[in-house]
């Protein structure tokens, strides 16, 4: 299939990459750009492990055709760290053990990031419903809720 140049801002830097029209953003990130933070859990829009922020909004990169992000801003978990400092959410997840295998974590972090940007002080129920589209097979939901609450409470 004919390739096209796709240009977008990835974690603060402009990138240009050749893609075919049927490739998803997840394909391009993982296979062409070696950005492997977003995970391919189901490739079907069901698990949330591939979640990235597109212009600040969480999207499932496995359901997003790569060419639709032309000129837009994509943030993956790799972009959360600033100048060698972990993001507050990353610190809270890490210190509070909000994961076991960590496969869902990059997606969880991106959704949590967007939640706190919109609602800096979410209730437990608000966290549960905002995060509901992301699955964790290790069952770290309780610890994830607590980590987000701790960040909201200014502990990190």
């Amino acid at each position: 299939m004919k390739q096209q140049v796709l240009t977008f801002i990835l974690n603060g830097e402009e990138v240009a990459v050749l893609v075919t029209p049927t490739e998803t953003l997840l394909d391009v990130l993982r296979e062409r750009l070696q950005i492997t933070g977003p995970k391919r859990g189901c490739d079907d829009g069901e698990c949330g492990a591939c979640t990235v922020l597109l212009d600040g909004e969480p999207v499932r990169s496995c359901l997003t055709l790569a060419l639709t992000v032309e000129g837009r801003t994509v943030t993956t978990v790799e972009g959360l760290m600033v100048k060698g400092e972990l993001d507050r959410l990353q610190k809270a997840f890490y210190e509070r053990g909000a994961f076991q295998c960590g496969f869902c974590t990059p997606g969880m972090l991106m959704v949590a990031k967007s939640l706190l940007a919109k609602n800096p002080n979410p209730s437990r129920d608000e966290i549960r419903s905002y995060m509901a589209g992301n699955l964790c097979r290790c069952g770290s939901y309780e610890e994830i809720i607590e980590a987000i609450q701790a960040v909201a409470a200014g502990e990190y």
Partner: protein, 339 residues
């Protein structure tokens, strides 16, 4: 109508196979920079075995955990471990690690004694310092110095300082032909789970509204990981009790799940709004520092507790997992018909 019920389960979970041999191995090497490379066979799939095995090695050596690097990446070259299953690793692998550390200390003693023309039995360890008993002032070396000396030679004798260890709960026990008795397990962990559910008698949907799970784990080597495993076990247990199935119910196999989304795992919204976990510690004589495994058991507690709570709520015993709305409604119909 929504009906509430409460149920309880008690779980006894074996950890480590005593009857048929169940060994693990470990190796530990003093690297040139004074850190220790710990090689284990246990596979860390997120349960945290790498973390706790580093803890055990650090404790046995008396060095900070940051000094221990752990690897289990290459199966072809790694020491053998029968596997990360049946909650066996926390009971068995720490013994292999501690034995490997003892072996490494013996090798270090020999190497240092050779340098000092001393008796290996007179070499003592104090954390990262190794010294000659009775002459610590003149005869002492740090682990970093030993590492550099042995690995790079120079003014010292070259050496490759590696310790190895292996352990299993017991030698093979044939069963007693008279009584059939056989000591089957290395240790047992005990758990208790109490679930509160709300059953919607019109839709058949069961919500777990509160859940408490407590585990007696010998010694919580890493409480954060123990907690993650208790609550993680709940995830698997709840799915098993209420939603997860890869078997088509009706009418044909065409309705079998094909993709992840057809297979219903609990989500954030399915988790009990009120969730309490508890850890009890009764050091187990067979475990290093009293530790034993338990985590598989934490997924066994919730299903019977939830099923018992359903019984409490609507008066029927569900005898097939998962208790999907369809199963609940059929059970309610059958109950009505029999009344």
């Amino acid at each position: 109508m929504k009906k509430k019920g409460v149920g309880m389960s008690c779980v006894l979970h074996p950890t480590g196979n005593k009857g048929a041999g169940d060994p693990s191995q470990a190796a530990i090497q003093l690297k040139p920079d004074g850190t220790f490379a710990l090689l284990v066979g246990a596979v860390d799939i997120g349960q945290g075995s790498n973390t706790i095995l580093r803890q055990f090695a650090a404790d046995a050596l008396g060095v900070p955990i940051e000094k221990i690097l752990v690897s289990n990446f290459a199966d072809d070259f790694a020491p053998l471990c029968l596997g990360s299953f049946a909650s066996r690793v926390t009971l068995i692998d720490p013994h292999a690690v501690v034995n490997a550390v003892e072996d490494l200390k013996r090798r270090i003693r020999e190497w240092v004694a050779n340098e000092w023309e001393a008796n290996p039995e007179d070499i003592e360890f104090d954390g990262e310092t190794v010294y000659l008993r009775g002459d610590r002032e003149r005869r002492s070396m740090t682990m970093d110095q030993i590492a550099a000396g042995a690995n790079f030679g120079g003014g010292y004798n070259p050496g490759f300082l590696v310790g190895t260890g292996a352990w299993q709960p017991a030698k093979f026990h044939a069963h007693d032909p008279e009584t059939g008795e056989m000591p089957a397990v290395g240790a047992i962990s005990f758990g208790c789970c109490i679930a509160e559910v709300e059953v919607d008698t019109e839709t058949g949907v069961v919500d777990v509204t509160r859940l408490v799970q407590v585990w007696e784990v010998g010694k919580a080597v890493n409480p954060l990981l123990v907690r993650a495993q208790i609550n993680g076990g709940l995830h698997i247990g709840m799915g098993y009790a209420l939603t997860e199935s890869s078997y088509p119910y009706w009418p044909t196999e065409d309705y079998a799940p094909e993709k992840l989304g057809d297979y219903f795992m609990p989500t954030f919204l399915d988790y009990p709004p009120e969730l309490i976990y508890g850890i009890e510690e009764v050091p187990h004589p067979a475990g290093v520092q009293g530790a034993k495994g338990f985590s598989e058991g934490s997924s066994n507690g919730p299903p019977p507790a939830i099923i018992a709570a359903i019984h409490d709520a609507i008066g029927v015993w569900i005898d097939t997992y998962p208790a999907t709305p369809e199963v609940i409604l059929k059970a309610l119909e059958a109950k009505k018909a029999s009344e």
